[in-house]
């Protein structure tokens, strides 16, 4: 008596659909994050460090281990302003 595989086919379909959508979402997230896994639970410190990474490398998730910063790095941190009302 073999395994009744016709009965298990719907389970295979469900798992396949879930797996396909999970894999697609994971690939989309990796493409959005430069080939890396997405960051989660990002707090203000992490946002500030990611902003510094963007000033250093040009990408939000770019990383470099140079010792010296590129020229003009110390001047590239902007003042954040509000438009005034008169």
């Amino acid at each position: 008596m073999g395994v009744p595989f016709e009965a298990l086919l719907p389970y295979a379909v469900c798992i396949g659909m879930f797996g396909f959508s999970g894999a697609t979402l994971s690939k989309i997230r990796a493409m959005q994050n430069g080939g890396k896994r997405a960051r989660h639970s990002v707090d203000q410190w992490d946002r500030q460090m990611m902003d510094r990474d963007r000033r250093l490398t040009g990408f939000l998730r770019g990383q470099t281990d140079n010792v010296k910063a590129p020229a003009g790095f110390e001047l590239s941190n902007p003042w954040r302003l509000e438009r005034g009302y008169t």
Binding site: M49, N66, R80, L81, E82
Partner: protein
């Protein structure tokens, strides 16, 4: 007009005026977040005195620390730059593997212990810098030396 909290999210101003020449120039550290996190305990091991000086100066300055503590800040920057330069010269491969792992794992140190152990031993041999967690209780093994990391995702990377 009643006063409301300012919302600084509308406009950016980049001021390109450089610092005056009376302030000595120091090269800023050029590493981004993952290599800095990876090397942070080694920077702490070598630069503890300068870092403590800077933090004490900022605490005592009562708001004027940005201008008054520039001298201590220059020392901190130079020391951190020297640690990064030494790690780059001696342990580059292990260092790169560790911070690439950290970058993939939301900058969580406990996911990447597998690559941290060779880095720690290499840095200890070549540069004599040991990673110590300040404030850890003395009678337990520190978290980075434990065999099993209870929050890690997979057992392969522990």
């Amino acid at each position: 007009m009643s006063a409301r909290q300012p919302r600084f999210n509308q406009h950016l101003l980049i001021d390109t005026t450089p610092l005056p020449d009376s302030i000595p120039k120091v090269q800023e550290v050029g590493s981004s977040s993952a290599p800095l996190l990876s090397a942070s305990y080694f920077i702490g091991a070598r630069c503890k005195a300068y870092n403590d000086d800077y933090m004490q100066c900022k605490t005592e300055a009562n708001g004027k620390g940005e201008m008054d503590c520039l001298r201590e800040g220059r020392k901190v920057t130079r020391c951190a730059g020297s640690v990064l330069e030494d790690v780059n010269k001696s342990c580059l491969e292990e260092f790169r593997k560790h911070w690439e792992c950290l970058d993939n794992n939301n900058q969580q140190l406990w996911q990447c212990r597998k690559w941290e152990r060779p880095l720690n031993s290499c840095v200890f041999e070549k540069l004599n810098l040991e990673k110590k967690i300040p404030g850890a209780p003395e009678n337990e093994t520190p978290v980075h030396l434990r065999k099993r990391q209870i929050f890690a995702h997979s057992i392969m990377t522990q």
